[in-house]
């Protein structure tokens, strides 16, 4: 009964995918990314803090997405901290990535989908499961719990609420912290897709977008 984030016509033909990628990434970024020499001390400190908390090298390449959102340092800090908290959160990483990939696919978000194909594989998602994520919760690949995760994603995107049946299945396996984290994690990755798509963030060299498998 809420408005749906999922398009009525689910067309995932090669032509439709190409058209979507052209819609988003067929033009230059709407806000230019900062050049490295424009990133000042405060911004570098935020990046260093966030990276040390995730075990990344503090001086490795700063992705274009981060160099763009750094134009609003307070927002950059809040979003990175939320992202880090969710990344190191209470949901099993593989289960989180199943959800993120389904979100990226349903929202037809090239940057998010492509990045999380690689991240998901690092957490054990197989090539066959990537294909099954495109099919959705109805694919035969899933356990009841995994199917409930993918169904909950669709319910949140389509109706902005998890149904009783899906909640009950999730609650059979997850504790209260995990049940709180899940809808917030979904919201976080929806917000990320909104920003990445709206700014037309350039895909990284390793990221072919919605065709990534």
């Amino acid at each position: 009964m809420a408005a749906s984030l999922i398009r009525d016509a689910q067309d995932y033909s090669a032509e439709a995918i190409a058209a979507r990628e052209a819609e988003i990434n067929g033009k230059p970024q709407r806000i230019a990314e900062l050049q490295l020499e424009e990133i000042d001390g405060e911004a570098r400190e935020i990046i260093r803090t966030i990276r040390s908390s995730t075990g990344k090298e503090s001086d490795s390449v700063i992705p274009g997405y981060m160099r763009t959102t750094l134009r609003h340092p307070a927002l950059f800090r809040a979003q990175m901290q939320m992202g880090t908290t969710i990344f190191k959160g209470v949901l099993p990483p593989r289960e989180r990535e199943l959800a993120v990939l389904r979100i990226g696919w349903l929202l037809r978000a090239p940057y998010e989908w492509g990045e999380h194909v690689d991240i998901g594989k690092r957490y054990g998602i197989t090539d066959a499961e990537i294909e099954a994520l495109i099919v959705g919760p109805g694919a035969p690949a899933w356990t009841d719990h995994e199917r409930a995760i993918l169904t909950a994603v669709e319910e949140l995107l389509a109706n902005q609420m998890i149904s009783d049946a899906t909640w009950a299945t999730l609650a059979a396996r997850w504790n209260e912290q995990q049940l709180i984290e899940f809808p917030m994690m979904v919201g976080q990755y929806v917000a990320t897709a909104f920003v990445q798509n709206s700014l037309r963030i350039t895909l990284a060299d390793h990221n072919p977008g919605l065709t990534h498998r």
Partner: protein
């Protein structure tokens, strides 16, 4: 499904708030030290003492203290953000209405009125961007919400109108703001958060 009509609001509210909350509030006496410390940090950032009784939303989220802290910090960031507060509330109201979020809607009707919007303006948010009476800029804010919520992207025409009035930080903030308040709607609806100060929920004007 299409955007909620005023007639459909009662059924939606029943769907969200017709059952008991799915996660119980944590009584203050049961707060672990970490939760107490985080509460004090968060309310200090707001410039107020930690209240004796937390709003139900906070008393549920505090069961996950790390996430509670991040959520509150993000909320403070947007409240002190680059977008003027009356325009911010216009966007949030449209998000809350589209998301059929009774708690968020009624809470932000009150905040929007504190920013100068009238009851008639609130009605016009429900009618949407094509309603009579919006300035081009206001209409573009509402359109951006609808475009994000419908196509996960702001169109060129809407972006151009927003760019005529807003700087880069404001433009960057809008899709993040819409995402943030959609996240709040998703968690509040999913835990069946009981209505707060305004029991009218989606009927608030």
């Amino acid at each position: 499904m299409s955007v909620l009509t005023a007639d459909g609001a009662a059924a939606r509210q029943q769907q969200v708030n017709g059952g008991p909350e799915r996660i119980a509030q944590l009584p203050r006496a049961d707060f672990p030290p970490e939760a107490q410390a985080i509460c004090e940090q968060v309310f200090a950032a707001l410039g107020i003492d930690t209240p004796d009784s937390l709003a139900p939303y906070f008393a549920i989220l505090i069961k996950h203290p790390g996430l509670f802290q991040r959520q509150m910090e993000a909320g403070i960031t947007f409240f002190r953000g680059a977008i003027p507060m009356a325009e911010r509330e216009l966007a949030i109201l449209r998000v809350a209405w589209r998301a059929g979020a009774p708690y968020e809607w009624s809470e932000h009707v009150a905040i929007a009125k504190g920013c100068g919007w009238s009851e008639a303006d609130v009605e016009r948010v429900i009618a949407g961007p094509e309603a009579e009476g919006w300035s081009d800029h206001q209409r573009a804010i509402l359109r951006a919400v609808d475009e994000l919520h419908g196509d996960t992207m702001i169109s060129d025409a809407t972006w151009a109108t927003l760019s005529a009035s807003w700087n880069e930080a404001q433009l960057l903030e809008l899709p993040a703001l819409v995402g943030q308040y959609l996240m709040v709607a998703m968690i509040q609806n999913s835990i069946r958060l009981p209505l707060g100060n305004d029991p009218r929920g989606l009927a608030a004007r």
